[in-house]
């Protein structure tokens, strides 16, 4: 028999000590993807058997996930998370479709439930992003932006505190980081149809960049600094029509500024041993990120297509392919 009370979630101590079965980040991603493939295939299989595919898939997935969590103490293996969210999404997809934007809210609720059950910050953030997408789909760009910014600021306030559970802290971190981007994308998508002025968005994200940067420096947290950079980038993108340069010059100047800022900060931090330091930290995702950073560099290039006089055409070479 399972002990329902003690095996629903790891205790705070167990979660901090990582005593339940967990996998490194990359393995989690692989297991998540493989499990989603299995869930999708199961959905199709049950459908072809002429059974109620939503109910059956959801039931099989959730029961399996619960057995894995409570019996085998699976926690952050990628499987239990994929089973929970895959099962709930399969259930929703099988429902009769009305084509209304409110369907997005149903997916948001499913993401929130799955996120709550497996304490997965990514699912929690996905729920918030889907609510923002709903406002965007209803063509309420300012509502989408206001919601996203409010949630992001609330997450920032939460980050200023110390949390007992790493999963709770991760939820705030992800929510804080993705919501401004989600709000902006929803706002842009809705504005695409209504062409509302961009000045307000520029001002808002400029202000956010300042707030995030100041908070990050004062509280000595890295994440608000990254969020400040993202907010500043959005402000610049929105202000591109106000900048009297061509896009290519803007890119070169922006790149030079970004590089100069990085070099300047690195120089200022040289030799420091406390507070912000220029050192790096060990992370299980480090090797993956390093390889990911090389993928754009390693994009095979297209050969020159034309060789006639004054021809032009495609050119390229290891990270510099293009057309003209």
């Amino acid at each position: 028999m399972f002990d329902f009370k003690t095996n629903v979630w790891p205790t705070v101590e167990e979660e901090r000590a990582r005593t339940w079965r967990r996998m490194p980040l990359l393995v989690q991603i692989v297991f998540f993807v493989l499990t989603i493939v299995a869930v999708a295939a199961l959905y199709g299989f049950v459908h072809l058997m002429k059974l109620p595919q939503g109910w059956v898939t959801a039931a099989i997935c959730i029961v399996t996930a619960e057995v894995l969590i409570r019996r085998a103490r699976f926690w952050r293996t990628g499987m239990e998370s994929a089973l929970w969210i895959g099962g709930l999404f399969a259930f929703i997809v099988a429902l009769p479709s009305s084509g209304r934007p409110e369907a997005i809210l149903v997916f948001a609720a499913a993401a929130a439930i799955a996120g709550w059950r497996v304490r997965n910050g990514l699912f929690g953030a996905l729920a918030m992003v889907l609510v923002t997408a709903y406002f965007g789909a209803r063509e309420w760009p300012w509502m989408a932006l206001a919601f996203a910014v409010t949630v992001s600021l609330a997450a920032l306030a939460a980050l200023a505190k110390s949390w007992q559970r790493p999963s709770t802290e991760f939820l705030w971190q992800v929510t804080f980081l993705v919501m401004p981007v989600a709000g902006y994308v929803a706002c842009v998508a809705a504005r695409f149809r209504h062409r509302t002025p961009a000045l307000g968005v520029t001002a808002l994200f400029s202000a956010l960049a300042v707030v995030f940067a100041v908070t990050g420096v004062r509280l000595r947290i890295r994440l608000p600094l990254a969020a400040a950079a993202i907010a500043a980038a959005i402000a610049v993108i929105e202000a591109r029509d106000l900048i009297p340069f061509s896009p290519e010059v803007e890119l070169i100047v922006a790149g030079a500024i970004v590089f100069a800022v990085a070099a300047g900060i690195m120089r200022a931090l040289r030799g420091r041993t406390s507070g912000f330091v220029a050192g790096t930290r060990k992370s299980e995702a480090r090797e993956v990120l390093q390889i990911a950073a090389m993928i754009p560099l390693a994009t095979p290039a297209a050969p020159p297509a034309k060789h006639g006089p004054g021809g032009g055409g495609e050119f390229g070479g290891a990270g510099s392919s293009g057309q003209f």
Partner: protein
């Protein structure tokens, strides 16, 4: 308790490196667009010379001053500009004539020299990509069903293997290994995607998977274990689904094969962890 009170040391080196990388990519993209849009206004010779000068300056920069943490990214920018410049020159003046593909080989050599001179892994990636482009291995061509493409992929992976064996810079080793492994698997999957060569493709994928698995265990590099599992699963799935034909049976097979793959990878991971613990 406020977060700031519990963080005495906050390392931001990774974030600053990421920022520098973004800066370099923005500049390189901007330069690419300048070449594309303005080459007839500015003049091809002026563009070629200007980019060449800036690239030379980027390469000279680290030796003009004290060593700095972000020098690697200045060198990377120089390498990207050289790539753009060489390709531009070749497209404009056709110096290599019908052998225009050799500009990739030239880039591979130039970048390799720069990578070893400056000890830059990123520039080495450019060199390998240029080599792969010269040999005609393009990722987006996967599953187009060209036997010749697969052969060239194997050849490219072999060259990278030899290069890896001759390499004396320890931190370059993993770059060769990742590229060679993936290119070899792409070649095998290309064969798997062609109906006539499918059995051979599956066998080769399984052989490479065994090699990758062994390498992963010997070097304690879990990513190679994952490569082995994922590529082998894709190849076997393609093979079996082709044989099954029936949709329902096929979907049932996919469920089972995914579960088996997860279980196998899970057991392998546990063994991997145990080995890691045993070896300290």
């Amino acid at each position: 308790m406020l977060a700031g009170e519990r963080r005495d040391v906050v390392p931001v080196g990774d974030e600053l490196r990421a920022l520098a990388w973004i800066g370099v990519m923005l500049i390189a993209t901007g330069v690419g667009i300048v070449i594309t849009k303005h080459f007839d206004q500015i003049g091809p010779l002026a563009i070629a010379m200007a980019i060449g000068l800036v690239a030379a300056f980027c390469y000279a920069w680290p030796s003009l001053k004290k060593k700095a943490a972000l020098d690697e990214y200045v060198v990377l920018l120089g390498a990207l500009l050289i790539s753009a410049d060489v390709a531009f020159i070749e497209t404009q003046w056709h110096l290599l004539g019908s052998e225009w593909q050799r500009h990739f080989l030239l880039l591979a050599i130039v970048h390799a020299v720069a990578a070893y001179s400056f000890g830059s892994r990123a520039v080495l990636s450019l060199s390998i990509a240029a080599l792969a482009a010269w040999m005609g291995v393009e990722q987006r061509r996967l599953f187009t069903g060209e036997v010749e493409l697969a052969t060239r992929a194997f050849l490219c992976a072999g060259i990278l293997g030899v290069w890896r064996a001759a390499n004396r810079k320890a931190d370059f080793g993993p770059i060769f290994e990742h590229f060679a492994t993936n290119i070899a698997f792409w070649g095998a999957l290309t064969l798997t995607s062609i109906r006539d060569t499918r059995p051979l493709g599956v066998i080769l994928t399984l052989i490479f998977a065994a090699g990758s698995l062994l390498h992963g265990f010997r070097r304690r590099r879990e990513l190679f274990v994952i490569y082995a599992a994922v590529y082998a699963l894709i190849a076997v799935d393609i093979f079996v689904l082709d044989r099954i034909g029936d949709r329902m049976l096929g979907l049932g097979y996919l469920v089972v094969s995914s579960i088996v793959a997860i279980a196998a990878l899970f057991v392998t991971h546990v063994r991997f962890q145990n080995q890691r613990l045993a070896n300290g």
